[in-house]
């Protein structure tokens, strides 16, 4: 493995596949992955395929199927694929498995880490700058490392401005139960929180609705989007979004592969590559205190300069092949 485009005739198109463990209609994490796949189809004319898999048992099955039909890259869009990915990499040396926010590395198994924490940190600064009650909240789907990572960074961002501000945390145990997300948000608002950030994927619409209702009821409250640019989900109450541009990241990986540089080490994709950023909602830009915007830009610069290391949950193994079964 490891020689990318070489070893295949130029005329036959590259074959890319995407595995998600949720529906791609979530207008969020999975949707982003699917858009990435479509981008690869349109930009480099790859032949693409997608399967929604629910259980580890199905992961293995899907990898085998794609491996047998000679796919070049399988984008496994979630850390949950990582063990099956290692097994698959073992089985199909010529196939690359790219695991979104995965932790395990092999010659042909590549974890891609989106440092969304950077954007989440800035979101935290924005939240701290906007809260009146000194209480902000986070609504999560299921406590998985990427989600926890963004929350830790958000807290750090808040603390960097106002250490006195308390941060609430709620998990609803689901990615698509909109009602639960809404009630969790309502509970936090009633608790006094006036800026909410979420990491609940499709269920997030419930958080937006909760904030929307709260503001129409008269109290001022803000919501911050995540995993994509959600500024227009509820423009009037959305402060901004911790944007994640998955298509760009996918394209980056594909280009690495074409250049034959893919494999053997993790890929980090973050602010410096433009896949991640905090995007204030233009519709409410005037509501930001000017000094707050300045502060956000300041923080962005220091992050890009590498001077500031945003706290993350470190889940990518440090060297190659520490774990069993890493073929090569």
């Amino acid at each position: 493995a490891g020689e990318g485009e070489a070893g295949r005739e130029a005329d036959e198109p590259a074959q890319f596949a995407l595995l998600t463990s949720g529906p791609v209609s979530d207008a969020g994490w999975y949707a982003g992955g699917y858009e990435g796949l479509l981008l690869l189809r349109d930009s480099i004319g790859a032949q693409v395929s997608h399967q929604q898999t629910r259980t580890p048992a199905e992961f293995d099955e899907a990898f085998r199927a794609y491996g047998n039909s000679g796919y070049d890259i399988v984008f496994a869009h979630g850390f949950e694929y990582q063990d099956a990915a290692i097994r698959a990499g073992d089985l199909f040396p010529d196939m690359y498995v790219v695991v979104s926010s995965g932790g395990r590395v092999a010659d042909n198994v590549v974890p891609v880490t989106f440092t969304l924490e950077q954007a989440s940190y800035l979101a935290g600064i924005a939240a701290a700058g906007m809260t009146r009650t000194g209480l902000v909240g986070m609504v999560g789907g299921v406590a998985i490392p990427p989600a926890l990572g963004t929350f830790r960074a958000f807290e750090a961002g808040v603390a960097s401005v106002r250490p006195d501000v308390r941060v609430l945390e709620t998990f609803i145990g689901s990615w698509d139960d909109v009602s639960a997300a809404k009630e969790a948000a309502v509970a936090q608002l009633r608790q006094g929180a006036d800026v909410l950030v979420h990491n609940t994927d499709a269920a997030s619409f419930g958080v937006f609705q909760a904030v929307r209702e709260a503001t129409t009821a008269g109290d001022s409250a803000w919501v911050i989007g995540m995993n994509g640019n959600q500024n227009d989900v509820a423009p009037e109450v959305t402060l901004g979004s911790a944007d994640l541009r998955l298509p760009a990241a996918f394209l980056e990986v594909a280009e690495l592969w074409q250049a034959g540089e893919l494999g053997g080490r993790p890929v980090y994709s973050g602010m410096e590559k433009g896949t991640v950023d905090y995007v204030p909602n233009p519709a409410v830009l005037d509501r930001y205190p000017p000094e707050l915007l300045a502060r956000i830009d300041e923080a962005r610069r220091t992050i890009l300069s590498g001077a500031l290391n945003v706290p993350r949950v470190p889940y990518v193994e440090d060297e190659i092949g520490v774990q069993d079964g890493t073929g090569g």
């Binding site: 979530d26 698509d176 009602s179 969790a184 309502v186 509970a187 499709a202 619409f205 609705q209 929307r212």
Partner: protein
């Protein structure tokens, strides 16, 4: 205290109402001897049709559409389980899978494969003039969307229907001893079909509450297993409409409590909070509602031995 409790009660009702609606419908269905585990399918169908209808004709139109969609899902169930006498559990499973699939497929076709954040016209809360001002429970009970009031009203109405009308008597007889009912001149299958369609329509209304009254949006699989919880609620409520609504609100309260507790920042594993409603249900069953018996003919095909 009350500034802490009042919102909790409101949340309890908001979360309890969809369960109450679905469970009330299923109560009638089960009292006729039919167990329709396709209820989840009816709920999601109602939620989606409600969304489409609301976009086309506004929230009230959506409510009607959702109601009917739930009924249609139940009609499929009725055709196979009652018309053909196929196994009710298997048919229900198929209807649930199909309902979840079809709504998702239609959603992706209509709003793009990657979905969109819909914001729908809503069924807004209609505060009841004086009652809503009552302390503590006022807003919780009387500043709710029309779906909640539907649940309040239907509970006594359905109880009266079951206990005090000839139809109700026939329905109960069909659910207990279809042979006896038939011998007394009751049309068993027709009664069961009616009960099933009604249950489906109520499931649809529950879906409408989710998409139009509660979240003002639709997401794939947003029914999130409420159809199955409703089945449990029916038993918790002892197949009695009044008890069922009480049980539904209890369940709603337990779920609401779980969010309030997390928001309070108690440092416990969140899974404990998520399991709370179910543990409470278990306690309730072990405690006082356990010993009730289901309708004797529940789930049995008619004519017998078919």
């Amino acid at each position: 205290m009350s500034e802490l409790l009042a919102p909790f009660f409101e949340a309890s009702v908001r979360l309890g109402v969809p369960l109450a609606l679905a469970a009330l419908g299923e109560t009638i269905t089960e009292r006729s001897g039919v167990i329709n585990i396709g209820l989840e399918g009816s709920i999601i169908a109602g939620a989606f049709a409600g969304a489409l209808g609301a976009l086309a004709w506004g929230a009230p139109g959506g409510a009607i559409a959702g109601l009917m969609a739930g009924g249609v899902a139940a009609a499929v169930f009725a055709f196979f389980a009652l018309g053909l006498g196929a196994d009710q559990i298997i048919t229900g499973t198929a209807v649930t899978i199909g309902g979840l699939g079809l709504t998702a497929a239609a959603y992706e076709t209509r709003f793009g494969p990657t979905g969109t954040a819909l914001s729908l016209p809503t069924l807004d809360p209609l505060p009841v003039p004086l009652l809503a001002e009552l302390p503590l429970l006022g807003r919780a009970l009387f500043a709710q969307p029309v779906t909640a009031y539907a649940a309040y009203l239907l509970a006594p109405v359905l109880w009266w229907y079951l206990q005090r009308t000839a139809w109700g008597l026939e329905l109960r007889a069909v659910g207990e001893e279809p042979c006896a009912a038939e011998a007394a001149g009751v049309a068993v299958v027709r009664t069961r079909v009616f009960a099933t369609l009604f249950g489906g329509a109520m499931g649809g209304l529950a879906g409408v509450h989710l998409s139009l009254a509660h979240t003002a949006t639709f997401a794939e699989g947003m029914s999130a297993g409420r159809g199955f919880i409703a089945l449990a609620v029916v038993v918790l409520g002892r197949w009695n409409p009044l008890g069922v609504v009480a049980a539904a609100l209890l369940f709603g309260a337990a779920s609401a409590l779980q969010f309030s507790l997390q928001a309070l920042g108690l440092n416990l594993p969140y899974q404990l909070f998520l399991a709370l409603p179910y543990l409470l249900a278990l306690l309730a069953l072990a405690g006082w509602v356990g010993r009730t018996r289901a309708p004797a003919a529940l789930g049995q095909p008619w004519p017998a031995g078919r």
